[in-house]
């Protein structure tokens, strides 16, 4: 296990493995996405109060989960960068940032479009919405800081610190609807409670969440390969490609 981890950490090895996985992941992603959309938009029944408008949930909830998940991955990479100085973690961290920012943006926009007809407003400054917006700024901050520092290895360490400082926002986002009165509703799906919706609604959400996970890995592999080639352009293994 440890050996496997070490091997994966070597750029040429990762480059090869990721290249092999990309076509498979693309097909898995496509299949999950179609299944999730079909289940969500066609099979799932309308909601008793919101009618058809609630269907945005099939994009909104998975993207919001991804926005948190990717940030946690980045923070984990941050620890690896600072403690072990592992090059691949630097690449994964910085390649994750734009993907995470996109999911955060998607969650904010879909939520806002749903909020207008349901709540009666596109935006309010309640705890959940505000902390999610801060998450978007954290992602943008990571991207900006990385671009501002010329030396990639120094940049990675600075970005690792920022990612780790920002990680305190993650539990705040998650618990914001419980700690404070907010306009945003509580979680409909959680690990410990019975879901407050029927399986015909939550199964498509879970399939979409899985599709987004696969998409993240797929996009990450693509971005990491490009980043690795750029960083190691003078090394022997890139020359041999």
């Amino acid at each position: 296990m440890f050996l496997w981890f070490h091997k994966l950490g070597s750029p040429p090895h990762f480059y090869r493995i990721a290249g092999k996985w990309i076509p498979w992941l693309s097909w898995i992603f496509l299949a999950l996405l179609l299944a999730g959309l079909y289940g969500g938009l066609i099979l799932a029944p309308p909601d008793y109060q919101q009618g058809e408008s609630y269907r945005i949930i099939f994009v909104h909830v998975p993207s919001a989960w991804m926005s948190l998940f990717i940030y946690v991955v980045m923070a984990f990479c941050g620890i690896v960068i600072i403690v072990w100085r592992m090059k691949l973690a630097e690449v994964v961290l910085i390649s994750s940032a734009p993907i995470g920012a996109s999911f955060t943006f998607l969650a904010l926009v879909t939520g806002s479009l749903w909020g207008k007809p349901m709540w009666g407003t596109y935006w309010v400054w309640d705890a959940r919405l505000t902390s999610e917006l801060i998450l978007l700024f954290l992602y943008l901050g990571v991207i900006g800081l990385h671009n501002a520092i010329e030396d990639k290895r120094v940049a990675a360490r600075a970005v690792a610190i920022l990612a780790l400082v920002g990680v305190v926002n993650i539990p705040i986002i998650h618990y914001s609807v419980e700690w404070w009165h907010s306009l945003h509703q509580g979680a409909s799906l959680s690990k410990f409670d019975k879901p407050s919706m029927p399986p015909s609604m939550y199964v498509p959400i879970l399939i979409m969440a899985l599709a987004f996970q696969v998409y993240y890995v797929l996009a990450l592999f693509h971005k990491c390969r490009v980043e690795l080639l750029q960083r190691e352009r003078n090394s022997k293994w890139v020359g041999e490609l």
Partner: protein
């Protein structure tokens, strides 16, 4: 792990814990400002700001919605199952507004202690179900009170 790595790990964990404690204290002191709305009980107890806009959230009391006067103004009672406050509002209500629904109104209290709303938002809860099931769940919902 080498001693240098251990030290770096300890430092980084210390930093994260420090930031978390700092943010925790900041949020604790900002508690009232982060609360998106006051409940009718808090409003009756005089906790809400006077002569200033604030938000009040609660459930629309069954059978309390009426349109007195010109028919543009809606009047209804808002409750948190303890106290209730009468709200008056002239404007467009969101689609989800109905009796028994959680809503949040933004406005101020008048001299009589009624809440004059300038904006009414519907608070949706986390329950989703197909229309044919909604009737069956009604009786259960009535027992599972206090959504806030």
């Amino acid at each position: 792990m080498t001693p240098a790595r251990k030290k770096r790990l300890a430092l980084i964990l210390l930093m994260v814990v420090g930031v978390a404690v700092g943010v925790g204290f900041a949020l604790k002191s900002l508690d009232e400002n982060i609360m998106f709305f006051f409940t009718p009980t808090e409003v009756m107890a005089g906790k809400a700001p006077k002569n200033k806009l604030f938000r009040m959230g609660g459930m629309v009391v069954d059978g309390s919605v009426s349109r007195p006067g010109d028919g543009l103004t809606v009047q209804f009672d808002l409750t948190d199952n303890e106290k209730q406050v009468t709200v008056r509002y002239a404007g467009i209500l969101p689609d989800l507004f109905r009796e028994g629904q959680g809503i949040i109104a933004n406005g101020k209290l008048d001299d009589k202690g009624d809440f004059i709303a300038q904006e009414v938002l519907a608070k949706h809860d986390e329950n989703y179900m197909p229309p044919e099931l909604a009737g069956m769940h009604k009786s259960e919902d009535a027992q599972a009170e206090d959504p806030y």
